[in-house]
Amino acid sequence: MSQTLKPAPAGAPAEASNRVTLGLSNRLLARPEVGAAVAAIVIFVFFLVVAPAFRSPESFFTVLYQASTIGIVAVGVGMLMIGGEFDLSAGVIVTTAGLFNALFCYYLGINLVVGALLSLVFCLAIGFFNGYMVMRTGIPSFLITLGSFFVLQGANLGITKLVSGAVSSPNINQMAGYDLLSTVFAGSFKIGGVTVWNTVIYWFAFVALSGWILTRTRIGNWIYAVGGNPASARAVGVPVTRVKVGLFMTVSFLGWFVGMHTLYRFNTLQAGNGVGNEFLYIIAAVVGGTLLTGGYGNAIGVAIGAFIFGMTSLGIVYAGWDPNWFRAFLGVMLLLAVMVNLYVKKLSTTRKVG
């Protein structure tokens, strides 16, 4: 074909004279988690100053534990939000997972391990249902998952009451398989006299895995694309439906994981628990720089968001204040984060040099 070519128009010079390395501050600002990191440091220092009890290593690890209980699900919720969707059922699915496991095994006398696996299948099915409905009907995920949120919330209470006659699950600590599961999901160990819950380790691992997936793998590329511009992603051959359904299932998997932790830590579950936590996950993601509209954010940011949650919820207690102020504080954080995000998005999409 080369003989048919017209003379090539002049290409670009090999060494682009207009290419510059952006300054450090510019490159930093373009990262989604920077705002959250600065906020985390400020809050950390603030509580160090005002709350003497906050200064001990024990309380630091308590903060990490508190952060991990929100942070694990927030990893999934953050990825889902980068993929452009919401999951409002993420808070109650945690309780659903635990209740399913406890009630099923207690009343049928089945090994808890079997129940935990069935509970996992059940949760993945809910995630699949959420994702499939959103993709199939085109109804915003906000509405679909709001629906499944209410269904699960009602079913949690209704079924628990129907089966056990009370609003909490029976104590399962005498049942077969309990020891194994409580070591796996609710174990802890001591480092130099400080108790470390293994959920903290799991949390770090999930964050690292999510970071790897988002930035280094093909699937991560697809997640950003389906969140940023699904039509364009579909046009270049990205399997949009599969990616989004997979994200919903990831969230319900992580919900199940935390559900297992809660069940095996306390041995019994209140059927009404978990309501409202879905917003904590979303706040952690948004404070961490994830765009509500999708296509932007990262794993570290979401982790920092969860850490801020852990710090403030305990910091207020350590400082001896009325813990009721915690939610008000969270609201302020959210508003600030949204404004910072908007600014960052503007900054990163304005044209620099053509």
Partner: protein
């Protein structure tokens, strides 16, 4: 910039060979007929221009070829075989790449991620395997340089590039990944004169490298600069179907502006 295209263009393409042939193709959405009796041939090394006003059926025509909506009348032959695409993936696997006017790229993603989107270089089949990021960045940068686009930083979001550059990245990407047929949906509609020029030059380069190009536009001047064959659609039907040698720019412009209707109108409005 022709280097890129010539390098990556399919070796098996021969000029004049028919790549896509539509025979009497039609499409109805429920009771609405969007397209009727369309005959269109896309040959290798030629640009087939599809012109028409808004609502004339241009988008439906693209969607049939791109696999977004299958046709329900007539036959669509790709490389001589009858096809009915039900997904963009299927259409892509036959070497038909579509570059849409406004949804060519994901603006918040980095330039190199956009370039490789849907065709990432991975180190193994394992779903969590890492991408070859270094290679991807290098290739994307090289390919863009060959086209005369120097981005400040290959890591910058593609939304920071100009509209013309984004179109070019999308076209270059399609060609790099072995497209045989390139469908360009109003590539110059939102662009200024100079940027349109860049896109048109690139279109011509793709044609000269032996690709079949379908150029959708409502600008007859742009179409005439690169086209070999012109079809004007009106209300879902072809009202003009001529080779370049049979039609002049004036006639094309007149037809696009309304043709006979315009003559009638001028009689009516005669002062």
């Amino acid at each position: 910039m022709t280097d890129t295209i010539a390098e990556h263009a399919d070796e098996t393409l021969h000029k004049g060979e028919s790549l896509i042939e539509m025979r009497d193709v039609g499409k109805t959405y429920g009771a609405i007929r969007a397209l009727k009796g369309i005959n269109l041939t896309v040959n290798a090394g030629e640009v087939s221009c599809v012109l028409g006003d808004n609502g004339a059926g241009k988008s439906t025509l693209i969607k049939i070829m791109a696999g977004l909506h299958p046709h329900n009348e007539g036959t669509l032959l790709v490389d001589g075989q009858e096809q009915s695409f039900s997904s963009p993936r299927e259409s892509l696997s036959h070497g038909i790449a579509t570059v849409y006017q406004d949804l060519a790229v994901v603006s918040l993603m980095e330039v190199w991620r956009n370039f490789f989107l849907g065709s990432e270089l991975v180190s193994s089949k394992f779903p969590l395997a890492g991408m070859k990021i270094r290679d991807m960045k290098r290739i994307a940068d090289e390919e863009l340089r060959k086209m005369g686009i120097v981005v400040k930083d290959i890591d910058q979001p593609i939304g920071t590039l100009s509209g013309g550059q984004r179109q070019c990245v999308a076209i270059a990407r399609a060609v790099y990944f072995g497209a045989r047929v390139l469908i360009l949906d109003e590539p110059t509609a939102a662009l200024g004169v100079k940027q349109s020029g860049v896109v048109l030059k690139y279109t011509a380069a793709a044609r000269d490298a032996g690709l079949g190009v379908v150029f959708i536009t409502h600008n007859p001047h742009h179409a005439y600069l690169v086209g070999n064959h012109f079809i004007i659609l009106k209300l879902g039907q072809a009202v003009l179907d001529k080779k370049r040698s049979e039609v002049s720019l004036d006639e094309l412009t007149r037809q696009m502006a309304g043709g006979d209707e315009l003559t009638e109108l001028s009689h009516e409005l005669q002062r």
